[in-house]
Subunit: 224 residues, 2 copies
DNA sequence: CTGGATCCTCAACGATACTG
DNA sequence: CAGTATCGTTGAGGATCCAG
């Protein structure tokens, strides 16, 4: 059992040999949002040592989860993206995110929000992503300096980084918006107490708050 | 960002701080089968250093996933089990198992099968565990030295370690039974080629092979 | 005999500097 | 921009030992 192997013929053990490496889950989360350059990853993963990132990318490429691509155009920057096999890990990442979010009420000292964390949180909150076909709403969500967009259209929800072009509603908030996603802070109270600031139709925020859900675990003390 | 923290207010990051530790996923898998004593864990996790196991159990207890219990009876051995919060991690473990199993065709040199790996593999293969209410079948599954049981009754599948009392069918096989679960080796061929040996009604093995499923990933080369 | 604690070694990780 | 090189620190691996 040299190296990082567990020596068991077991799916979970095989998975653990890959995602059990430090930083690997967060690298995969960032790539799940879309292809990224090396420096994008460095920027989205504050604190990661550059040699660790280089090692992980190499290992993930060898394991078949990540591919490097040098785009055809004159732009010669290297871009990393998930392979189909890497995309297949999505449901597992979502399940882990949901579980972790269940125990996460307020930021710890110094904890920050990144683009990938917001996008993946909204994706998880969207669940199966199915909404009534008649809904046609575009949101821009801003948490601190970080901006993402969320679109409800044709019966499905899609989420991505950056602002929407012509959003029907802009939602500006801090990490406390977590309570809204948990269903413990209702939309009207969130607005009236200043936790959330809106630019657009407030009724669309009610829809947002009712549709997206990542509950708190009932088994975690409220102080956590 | 001291210690093992990632400094991000993100569910996946919080989860990674726990399950990203070496051996932790496998410890949780073993405990998900049922309460275990320290020495059971040592036995079920070949190669784990005893101090690492002790550290992990302490960390998991502090994180609220694991509880130590000294049973009321005269037996005074310490028993470790999952808390409700630990049980909530089940879906994430299952998703990881399924993903890992998708890339796992044959054992690597020296890889073994443990009781917890068989039980969790069968649980994952059972999916939502729903079967026709009329089915009432008890299986004993033996892979190498390892024995587990699987019961289809009252519309649901239950799985556990050890042999069944009066099994309707005993299935004896090696790791190659993986191909049956993947749906790439049909029941009759498995029996006729000697991959699987049965004691009981062969038709019940067809039911087993048709009901339990953990597919291979289409994106992993067959040589893996 | 179970449930660990201790000690030492070494590979992996982390921080910083530097290069094609 | 995309890494590699270097070096210090930490944690895992492995053996042994100790207490209830």
């Amino acid at each position: 059992m040299t190296n990082q192997e567990y020596g068991q013929f077991c799916g979970l053990a095989r998975a653990a040999e890959i995602v059990g490496q430090r930083w690997t889950l967060l690298i995969l989360r960032d790539l799940s949002v879309g292809p990224r350059r090396y420096s994008d990853l460095v920027g989205g993963l504050p604190g990661i040592p550059t040699n660790t990132l280089a090692s992980r990318l190499k290992e993930l490429e060898e394991a078949g989860l990540v591919m490097r691509a040098a785009p055809a155009g004159g732009d010669r920057s290297v871009v990393y993206g998930l392979t189909p096999r890497g995309e297949e890990l999505g449901p597992a990442l979502d399940a882990l995110s949901r579980w972790g979010a269940g125990g996460m009420r307020t930021p710890r000292e110094g904890e920050i929000v990144t683009t990938a964390s917001i996008v993946s949180a909204l994706k998880v909150a969207a669940g199966d992503g199915v909404v009534p076909k008649s809904w046609n709403t575009t949101y821009t969500v801003q948490v601190g300096e970080i901006v993402a967009h969320l679109v409800m259209r044709a019966g499905v929800i899609t989420v991505g980084p950056g602002a929407a072009e012509n959003p029907d509603l802009i939602i500006v908030a801090g990490p406390q918006i977590r309570d809204v996603l948990a269903g413990e802070l209702d939309a009207q109270t969130a607005v009236s107490t200043g936790v959330v600031r809106l630019e657009g139709d407030p009724a669309l925020f009610e829809r947002f708050a009712d549709t997206l859900r990542v509950p708190y675990s009932p088994h975690v003390p409220a102080g956590a």
